[in-house]
């Protein structure tokens, strides 16, 4: 199956290891992965802050560079959900609206693609640890993908997954919200970290780099001994020596 990777700007800038893991997992599962060079950021920072026109520019660039792909896969539920907004964002430009929808229709978040398109729930990974999972808001509510990560994690050998209290509460990232409303965001991420600590997990797993950046940032600031991993890093553990 042919897959184009939409790596996301956060992965490209900060979490290149996650991006590599995504590529390797997909290839191991039989996909032929390419990387369309024209891709940029999905436009969410501008869109969510009310800068529609600037977001439209990003959207058009993304559509042009990815519309010839068969499947588009991204390691971020939030960025995948942003693609689903494109046709609304470009609703006044008939020439773009249809193209936007076509791109949205073939875009999948990484775990969603593995479970729903490749129809694989056991990728043969092994990761002995006590872990908990952070369900990100956009992936569960806007993309409506609530189950795929759990199906995959359930089959990871050695992984003990502890349910996270109030998992449905936002971690306080919200893009520019984290800086614009820093004092409120701080309380939100603190509560999230408290719940994570309560699970006594050594590892927090998530499927969105934005949330990870926020939660990990707070965990590290507080000096808590909890690792934060993208789910691709957990799933890419069959290859020896690669975590």
């Amino acid at each position: 199956m042919k897959v184009s990777l939409f790596v996301t700007c956060l992965s490209e800038m900060f979490y290149q290891n996650v991006a590599k893991d995504v590529v390797e997992v997909l290839e191991r599962l039989g996909c032929e992965v390419d990387f369309p060079r024209g891709q940029v950021c999905c436009g969410q920072p501008a869109y969510n802050s009310g800068y529609r026109k600037d977001a439209q520019k990003a959207a058009k660039q993304m559509i042009s560079s990815l519309e010839n792909s068969e499947h588009i896969v991204t390691p971020s539920g939030s960025c995948a959900a942003m693609f689903k907004e494109y046709s609304e964002l470009l609703k006044d430009e008939p020439a773009w609206k249809g193209r936007a929808q076509a791109v949205a229709d073939k875009t999948y978040e990484f775990t969603q693609f593995i479970v729903n398109v490749l129809k694989i729930e056991d990728v043969g990974a092994e990761y002995p640890a006590r872990a908990t999972y952070h369900t990100s808001c956009h992936m569960t509510r806007l993309l409506n993908e609530k189950e795929a990560p759990f199906k995959l994690l359930k089959n990871v050998k050695g992984l003990e997954l502890i349910p996270l209290e109030n998992s449905y509460d936002c971690c306080g990232f919200g893009g520019t919200f984290a800086v614009k409303m820093a004092p409120i965001s701080e309380q939100m991420v603190d509560e999230k970290v408290r719940h994570i600590e309560d699970t006594a997990a050594n590892v927090l797993i998530a499927a969105d780099n934005g949330c990870m950046m926020n939660i990990k940032g707070r965990i590290d600031r507080k000096g808590k001994p909890i690792e934060v991993k993208h789910i691709a890093q957990i799933l890419n553990t069959r290859v020896e020596g690669r975590i």
Partner: protein, 476 residues
Amino acid sequence: MAMKIGDKPFFDRVDDALEDNFMRNAMAEAQDGLRGRKLKATVEDEQIGDWEEWRSAGEEIRRHTLENLDYYLNQLSENFARQGGHVYFAETAEDATRYIQDVAKKKNAKKITKAKSMVTEEIGLNQALEEIGCDVYETDLAEYILQIDDHDRPSHIVVPSLHKNKEKIRDTFRDKANYTGTSEPCELTAFARSQLRETFLEADIGVTGCNFAVAESGTISLVTNEGNANMVTTFPKTQITVMGMERLVPTWEELDVMINLLSRSAVGQKITTYVTNLTPQLEEDSIDAPNEFHLVILDAGRSNALGTEFQSALHCIRCAACVNVCPVYRHIGGHAYGSIYQGPIGAVLSPILGGYEEYGELPYASSLCAACTEACPVKIPLHEHLIKHRENYVEKKGMTAEKMAMKTFGIGASSPALFKLAVKGMPAVLGPLVKDDSISSGPGPMKLWTSVREFPAPGKGNFRKWFDDHKKGRNQ
């Protein structure tokens, strides 16, 4: 008074709230309780079938009603008037209070009892009536508590005294009403009852809000639990009901659906203790009903949303399900919003009713997590409305540093070459700040980030290059 709460700027209100640990614990506990009850009465209640279908039906009813608002309002007022009721359309809050003052003056009213009404809070009715010498008595327990506590303001649209626990209420009763009992809820309630009993009997006018008005029969429907609304609407000879102009349904069939959605979403009840339906049908000599019934239909900014992208905000049935799941409300409580409408719906509605000048910051008090949208029983896309507000807000503002940054973003994001350059340049820009693989204290907007948490160090490699090498390796 009216819709606005407090005079402090937004961030000062937030700081006050964040320091109030008592209130925050109360909010978190209340939210967890209300959420759980709602889930049991909705998605988890097998008896009602598919909750999503109920939501869709609710959305459809509200959309249809609002799309034909003039027709149904006309029908409602005709049916109400035909049975002897008086209907008054108030364009502004002042129009509404003036009309009600006039009725009170004509009736020579001294005592006025009130039940179930956030909308009278919105128009500042108590104050207006007190100005002309009336004594106004709130009779919903929560409103009663706030009133005797020196007119404290509501912090939640369904449970206005949510920021107080039973101990606080006991103290208020002791200080303000010579209460000598304990903090037992039953005892506290019995005390409030005994205080209010006489007042019910003596009131000249009863004022209520309105959950739904049924257009086909000219009926006002009140969804309550305490029974006080029944006292307010039976003893006084004159009744005045104030309703937001959007709060109506075409027929009793839709009323049935809406009451299910409301009771289950608001308090997790299949049906509330009372659903009181009042039609004028006035008789001169009746002893258990008013013989004069006024219906004040309030615009007060609502028509600003009609025919705009915000129209669906008027679908709201004030169940507070969105408030009860909001993680921002959880930490800052109701008063920090500076409006009697708080939480996500407050952040959407307050700027519509009161303008951006006053409430422009509220749409930013959200991480756009969409918990509100998911919870709303009539499927209002609340988080999308918040984004729309932000769009309007930035458009109104002149050039700001943020706008510059976003323009730069737009240029960068539409040019792959520039984007690549930005990614490549990242380590050079951020590199000097990195210590132990992360950044603890950054300049500019990063400062706000690093005031709370570490910022990641930019990745060391170049993904695009890795990908090329990797591909080459695989193809060999």
